[in-house]
Symmetry: C2
Subunit: 316 residues, 2 copies
């Protein structure tokens, strides 16, 4: 069976023809995010037809369309409630796209959820039934797969996993509450921690490197690799913060695999190896249960298309 996976971004939309977890052909097109929803959806429908034509696939071969969209999506109805980057407000996206394409079965979910489903089934998760994807970027996002299906919560309002509390009354989070995971584990938080370490230890290798090159999410990894003690200490704290949240997820879900995505995951083994060690040492009942793997996301930009297409498979 062939499916279409559509990944909507703030500037462009990607569409792929997917069969058995493989993208046969994909195509991207710019969107006009501030136009009326009707215009945006008709641009997407045009991309669908272009992609099918280039791929030499007839519309009637497509068993369903899956769409990943940023913002708040009601998975059950295919409505997009609101979306910061694209002008969708209570937009019946599934219905509109079905009408314009003539393909009846259209499923919509949040784009981060789709990426988690794609990585779990076809990427770093290697077909796991249960997984947690943690995205360490500007914020912290989560996508959770339980028995092969996305966990979305009532009216798809759940999986806001950057906003679990790991330190009551702790650091202020972007959402206005204190002590949330995102305030400790995001790339933004790592940069703050790096800046604080530089100020506290102005003569450290870290501070000197930062003065010359500025601070980003890689700074502490580069300086730790060069053996700077302050950088190593800062990184160890960061690993504990990230690990603390992973253990909470592990104790609730006991997934086969935890997948780390987002910009920070580009650090590779310097991040992944100590995180897996932390989880193994701290998860409840580790001595009786299979080890939980911690791995970096692998699919990059294709995760969204593959996961969106896989929405059509989950049998709801």
């Amino acid at each position: 069976m062939k499916y279409l996976g559509i990944d909507i971004g703030g500037m462009s939309v990607k569409c792929g023809v997917v069969e058995d977890g493989v993208i046969l052909h994909k195509k991207a097109a710019p969107i006009r995010p501030r136009e009326d929803a009707e215009v945006i959806v008709s641009d997407i429908a045009a991309l669908v037809f272009d992609t099918l034509e280039e791929c030499g696939t007839d519309r009637r071969e497509i068993a369903g369309i899956g769409v990943g969209c940023p913002g708040s999506v009601d998975d059950d109805t295919g409505f997009v409630r609101y979306c910061c980057n694209v002008n969708f407000v209570n937009t019946p996206l599934a219905e509109m796209l079905a009408e314009l394409t003539g393909i009846e079965s259209v499923r919509v979910s949040n784009d981060a959820n789709c990426a988690a489903l794609g990585e779990t089934l076809y990427g770093a998760g290697e077909g796991a039934r249960n997984s947690v994807l943690i995205t360490l970027g500007t914020g912290v996002g989560t996508g959770i797969v339980v028995n092969g299906r996305l966990l979305t919560g009532n009216r798809s309002a759940g999986a806001e996993g950057g906003h679990i509390t790991i330190a009551m009354d702790g650091e202020l989070c972007g959402c206005g509450k204190r002590g949330h995971y995102e305030a400790y584990a995001s790339a933004t938080a790592l940069m703050k921690q790096t800046k604080a370490a530089c100020e506290k230890h102005p003569n450290s290798g870290l501070a000197k490197y930062a003065a010359e090159n500025g601070i980003d999410g890689k700074t502490v990894f580069i300086c730790a690799k060069n053996g700077d003690k302050v950088a190593i200490e800062t990184l160890n704290h960061y690993i504990e913060y990230v690990g603390c949240g992973l253990v909470t997820y592990a104790n609730i879900f006991y997934p086969e695999v935890i997948i780390i995505g987002g910009g920070v995951s580009n650090a590779g083994d310097a991040l992944i190896v100590p995180l897996e060690k932390y989880v193994t040492e701290n998860v409840f009942g580790a001595q009786y249960n299979p080890k939980i793997k911690v791995v970096a996301a692998t699919l990059k930009n294709d995760a969204g298309i593959l996961g969106a297409a896989a929405l059509c498979l989950d049998g709801r």
Copy 2:
């Protein structure tokens, strides 16, 4: 369709004939928890036949047996890996019970999971599709229902929800790690907090009441109701600890309802009303989403039988 629900405890086992979420007849019998597993299971099978006979139900009318068992259970295979209170070690409980009763379909899960399923479908959850049951007792237990099915994790090792971290490097938990929810929200923790408040404020009404009556999970509720300021302050802190964990669960699962069970839940509205307020004020995206209800468990001892019987319904 009629099902049997079996609830195994450390001293006795209960069996009920269940139809449409109603217990038609139930019966209890002592068990010999230190005998060989064969003896224990044959006692349970004898209880099954006694219950059926008293109920006037033929064995062939029973579509399946569900069993709630303490300890570590593999839901997929019906094996009990280990159990503190009953002498089951890698015991193929489902298989043994099917053989002895002649009823082929036997499902087994952890007893706390069964209670959560029972409360969700037939008790305080009023048929919710998504719920979280938090048991505030000696420890903190959790049972989580997602789309009408129990969340158990890979090899049923998940849902260890008392061991999520709410305060990194905080209070020592019974499991040996620091900062876990159980170390702040259990009845045991509440009694510790009450004791500490009495020691800090020896002239308070709370301290005087405790000196006369001793300390248990009700002490602080009784004295707060009487208007003692130290008791009110202690209770408010406890509500924040419990609430903090509830919000973490709310942000991950966004359930329709959070159900509070265990001894502490007997405090009723003095606990439940401020907890619901805390969740409403702190859950992510509350302004866009339906309010999450917080309610006390209602089924008490029948939750286990009803939930065990419901294991047969969840279609795995």
